[in-house]
């Protein structure tokens, strides 16, 4: 320690000489690093001494050391200290007053409690004591600690504490209760399911957005199918959705989509393309997205659904991609494509693609969902097509996905532009996967028109020819596949290309790739049905180099010869004789060569085919060799081939509408009648400072007013409003008088409920508590053993406020 002090002193000295800022950097480094260094040097016995010390500072040092061993992963290797062996020494400090030490002990406990349950149980008493702390953060922490210690005998205590804590005045504590319930559910589901269910109901009807946020989490994890819990809250949640934290917004939207599908009547689509009112057709929203048969339509939506969707539209400015993602899903599931486009959510989704963040995983998920949407409706992202062009910095997987989106967005207007870009990528990009994917996209372009098809075919052949020395095998194969597919579609119109291919195959021996050669040879076999005349010559030229060909190519030469012979037999009909036919002679030569092949497959095939011809079973040969080949290209792009992650697909899986389109019963009884809210804020011992939150419920915040109110009060700060409550049962007023208090349990035995309208419509006023106010507080406490009538007490509150302001 003395050394480090010395260091700091010398740092200070030099601070005078050099600039202040530099000194600051130097000293900050000195401070932290030297502490870390000191901390590292603590030996096992020293650590024990520190943990058992009476000085807070030393205990803190000890705990810090323990945590850093845990966090650095050193507790795993034997050379270092074994953290578990300090269990007793650590747990002793559970009652420490310093909240940081407390927190550190809790973290330690939650990790190691199940290793030594007996010792861990010793700490329970102290934790329970903290449950009644004045500081809500400590109470919340205690609940968290209690729920993190996985010892079976603790469950009843935990459940009991949670039941109490659910009426706590602090939203932080109540929201922690939701998390604790979640853990209890995951751990002891069978025993406590009912209890948790009933507590969830309370949490869901809380008035604080913070608590609702956590309650939604609990609901989603444990009771996601019990959507009827939401009946009374649907409208309220829709209204306050902006106030929830963004993670919960995402969960809530997910749940509400399901809710809408189940309980809200299906929207109706009205055909507006015809002028006359009477002939307009009305159908329920189709099950599949973007399959509405009318060119123009209107949609009739239930009011509650409209409210929900309207609120979602305002969320489009969210910076959390999860929120946008779920909003998009909501529109995808619940409305028509027109609505979706109008919501501007597609643009918001694209915003995450163009953001500066380098989160590749996230961008890839976003792209996949964009791809999915554009397959069902390409117009959604058409306006932003250029975003999906590649940049040199894009990673390979992102580039590939972008190309897939591009191919989904292709149409007559943009195809020329995209084609130009694709050619650039194919010629200049070095990554094979990108080039391959660009080639595939090129193929998709050719679907659009015959002119494009022949243009692309010509381009592919010329491009391949000029470069096949430097192309890798995979790329070359891909070229051949494209050429093959395009030629096969429409051989008559591509004769020039075919002749070009023959040149490539037979002239200088430049194309050496076995697979590519085999592919072209196969193609000639297929072409022979349409344009027989070129083929025998190709075959003739191939034979001299038969030995030098690869396995696949040799195989295909044999097949080509057999095919040609079969066509020859068919063409000449009865006049055919084996001895006169030149092709028969070529075939005989090829099969002779094959007999000596070192590949058994080729020898085998040669025997098979020649035996067919030898025995003059020409029909079999025709069937075998002239069978029409299916087109390998699929004209429709289905999402299956596009490698969209299955999780993303299942997330967007269509949920069926359950409520009938015209259900008069549902209309008659309003099941979504707002349920009363539970407001615990009046239990606060000091003046509630959450007036901003409640002000925010009316969307334009009543901010300025409340703000100026606070400043008009003469007390410097409203929080320490003359009242302090200690954890023992005595109550001291600001003036120093002591009162006996009931236990929290007795006091909170009744949960008051106020209706929503009252809470939010009445402008909240700030109570300025001065010394004399304690008398009114006092009386309130005195009467509290009779059940407190909430009407009365809130009147009292407002009257006292009107007095003081």
């Amino acid at each position: 320690m003395t050394e480090s002090i010395g260091n700091i002193a010398s740092a200070l000295e030099s601070a005078k000489a050099i600039t202040l800022e530099a000194a600051a950097v130097a000293s900050s480094k000195l401070g932290e690093s030297s502490y870390a260094h000191y901390s590292k040097s603590i030996s096992s016995q020293q650590l024990r001494n520190l943990l058992n010390s009476r000085h807070n500072r030393e205990v803190k040092d000890g705990m810090k050391r323990i945590l850093s061993i845990m966090a650095s992963g050193d507790d795993n290797n034997n050379s270092s200290l074994d953290v578990e062996s300090f269990f007793a020494d650590v747990v002793k400090n559970i009652g420490n007053e310093d909240s940081k030490v407390k927190r550190m002990v809790y973290v330690y406990l939650s990790r190691y409690a199940d290793k030594d349950p007996d010792l861990a149980l010793l700490s329970i008493n102290a934790i329970q004591k903290s449950l009644n702390d004045t500081n809500p953060d400590i109470r919340a922490l205690a609940i968290k600690a209690l729920s993190d210690i996985k010892i079976s005998s603790l469950c009843p205590i935990l459940a009991e504490s949670l039941r109490k804590a659910i009426t706590d005045s602090s939203a932080t504590v109540r929201s922690e209760v939701a998390f604790a319930l979640l853990k209890l559910y995951q751990w002891k589901r069978e025993e406590y399911e009912e209890d948790i269910h009933s507590l969830l109901k309370d949490l869901l009807s809380d008035s604080e957005p913070q608590v609702i946020s956590s309650a939604i989490l609990l609901m989603r994890e444990c009771f996601s199918d019990e959507l009827d819990l939401l009946h009374g809250h649907f409208r309220y949640y829709c209204k306050i959705i902006k106030q929830l934290n963004s993670w919960s917004q995402y969960y809530l939207i997910e749940i509400l989509i399901k809710y809408c599908k189940k309980f809200i009547t299906r929207p109706l689509v009205i055909d507006t393309s015809s002028e006359e009112q009477d002939t307009r057709e009305t159908i329920p929203l189709p099950d599949e997205y973007n399959t509405i048969p009318f060119p123009m339509y209107d949609i009739k939506i239930d009011d509650d659904l409209r409210l929900f969707l309207k609120q979602l539209e305002t969320l489009r400015f969210s910076s959390n991609p999860l929120v946008i993602f779920s909003c998009c899903n909501a529109f995808y599931q619940l409305t028509t494509s027109q609505y979706f486009k109008k919501s501007k959510l597609p643009e918001a989704l694209i915003g995450f693609l163009t953001s500066a963040s380098e989160n590749e995983g996230l961008k890839s998920v976003i792209l996949q969902s964009i791809l999915m949407y554009s397959i069902s409706d390409s117009t959604l992202f058409l306006a932003n097509m250029k975003i999906f062009l590649l940049f040199p910095n894009d990673s390979v997987s992102i580039s590939v996905l972008k190309l897939k989106v591009l191919s989904a967005l292709l149409n007559e207007n943009n195809v020329q532009f995209i084609l130009k870009q694709l050619k650039y990528y194919i010629n200049h990009y070095r990554n094979e996967r990108i080039v391959l994917e660009s080639l595939n996209t090129l193929l998709a372009c050719s679907n659009l028109s015959i002119e494009l098809e022949s243009h692309i075919l010509n381009w592919a052949v010329i491009n391949m020819e000029s470069k096949f020395k430097i192309l890798t095998n995979d790329v070359l194969n891909c070229y051949i596949n494209i050429i093959r597919e395009l030629v096969q579609n429409n051989p008559q119109s591509h004769l020039r290309v075919i002749i070009k291919l023959a040149d490539i195959l037979t002239s200088d021996d430049r194309l050496t790739n076995d697979n590519a050669r085999a592919g072209i040879i196969w193609l000639f076999g297929e072409i022979s049905a349409i344009e027989f005349s070129v083929c025998p010559d190709v075959l003739r030229k191939l034979i001299p180099n038969f030995v030098d060909e690869g396995v696949e190519a040799r195989n295909q030469i044999l097949t080509l010869a057999a095919k040609l012979l079969s066509y020859e037999v068919d063409n000449l009909g009865d006049s055919f004789t084996l001895d006169d036919s030149r092709i028969a002679k070529i075939f005989a030569h090829v099969s002779y060569l094959c007999k000596f092949d070192d590949d058994f497959d080729i020898r085998d095939r040669a025997r098979l085919i020649s035996s067919i011809f030898d025995s003059k079973k020409y029909e079999i040969a025709t069937l075998l060799l002239q069978a029409p080949k299916p087109r390998t290209r699929t004209s429709e792009i289905s999402s299956n081939e596009l490698q969209i992650d299955k999780d993303i697909k299942s997330y967007h899986q269509y949920i069926a509408w359950e409520a009938a389109a015209e259900n008069s019963e549902v209309e008659a009884i309003d099941i979504r009648e707002s349920a009363p809210l539970k407001d615990y804020s009046k239990y606060k011992k000091s003046i509630s400072s959450d007036y901003f939150m409640s002000g925010r419920n009316n969307i334009p915040r009543t901010f300025d007013k409340t703000y100026s109110d606070t400043h008009r009060t003469s007390t410097p700060s409203p929080a320490p409003a003359g009242i302090a409550v200690r954890s023992n049962n005595s109550f001291t007023s600001g003036s120093g008088q002591k009162y006996k208090l009931q236990s929290l349990d007795e006091f909170l035995s009744d949960i008051p409920t106020t209706t929503k309208t009252r809470k939010f419509d009445k402008p909240r006023k700030i109570v300025r508590i001065e010394e004399e106010d304690t008398s009114s507080e006092e009386s309130e406490y005195d009467t509290s053993d009779e059940s407190v009538d909430d009407e009365e007490s809130s009147d009292e509150e407002s009257s006292s406020s009107s007095e003081s302001i």
Binding site: L67, M104, D137, S355, R701
Partner: protein, 455 residues
Amino acid sequence: MYIAFYICDTKNQLVFQYLCDSIAPHFSKLLTRIHSLCPEVLDVETRGNVSKDLKIYRYFSATNNLNYYALTIVSRHHDLEPHHVLESIDTLLVEYFNKTNLTTTKIMNNYDRMTILFDLLIDGGIIDGNNFYMNKLRNQIPLKNDFSNFINDAAKSLQKGQAPSKTVDNEVVPWRSKEIKTVRNEIYVDVKETLYVTLIKSNRASHRLKLLNGYINGSVSVDSSIGGVPMLEVSFGGCDFKDIIPKFHDCVEVNEFLTNDGNIIKFIPPDGKFQLMEYSMALSSFNDNLISCNFTNGLGNSNDEFEITLNINKSNKVPKINNLQVCLNFENREGQSKVKILRNTHGRFEYGKNTWIFDSELLTGTLPVLRGCVEEETKNEEDGGIDGEGRRILSKLRPELRSVIMSFQYEGQLPSGTRVSSINIRNDSTSNPQRQQLFKGVKYVTKTSNYEIRG
């Protein structure tokens, strides 16, 4: 459900681990499993399956040079959440420590803080979104006021760091505590725009560049240090946010934004640094009047020379350009060509990477030129040039300069023309006389991320 979080350096050496559960594996054990089952997660992929029901996610933070891993139980949920969680944790840590980037030493020196932070953010293996606000975290674990802070803010009172966690439930809005007292009374707005542009020469002879596609990504970050609960209003000029959809921090009043023609933003700021908004604008035309670049091929006697000209105009707003680099891409045939520089007016040329690197600060109003030639390996000439045709093909394949990628950064103006025209506090300012002396500062930074010029 999350089981564990790990932070590693670029070599995948463990820096920090947070295990949510007593059964969670140590990183060393996990690493051997990753190596055998899905090694690609360690460098290329962002997720992988470690076992039948365990998935690992990776996020690489480029600013901090750290790899973040999250181990989760496979669930019915999709991958977006873990990816986003890792990124948010990264930004949150940087904000918490109030640094521009996070070093491994910083993490190692603050293991206790880090552990408690993770403990707050993750509860029972689930993200506790209520705690993803800086004020809550700072409230629970106050940042140590170390020596540097004392020297920097000598005026700050000493008591502040000592008992902050005593305050009880005093938040105004989830992101701001009520009793913020400060003597600094300052607000700084930094607007940073990043360029993503692909320009193309409209034809070989002309020097006009045409925009192929491009967009600007902008972000506005604010560092506020104002006491009380101020309602700030920042208005922008020179651009229109009406037709684009910016991403706002939770604090922004969206309805106000929509009613105010989309260039006034109202918010109650969180204390300290935060990102107020991020936006991207698609460009329909692009004409940077500060820096322009062009290049020509086929110069010299044997047509194998190229020349790159940069034109950096004098500007009174932008005194200098930082970290200018021009990366040259040649037609990659068989990789047997060699670049030779003939003339270079500024900076230096790094041969291995084919990059023209300038000094870290380059004054505006200069006109750097680089001229060089591409040499073929002689061996190639002999092999390929046997007959006339072969030679023709070879000369056609002569590697020439195909595209250049520029990267630079400057302060002082933005390519989109966005300006902050005013920053004001909108609520009743009479009650607090200090408020009138609010110190405001604005900074504009332009950066390139993808700036390509194709020939």
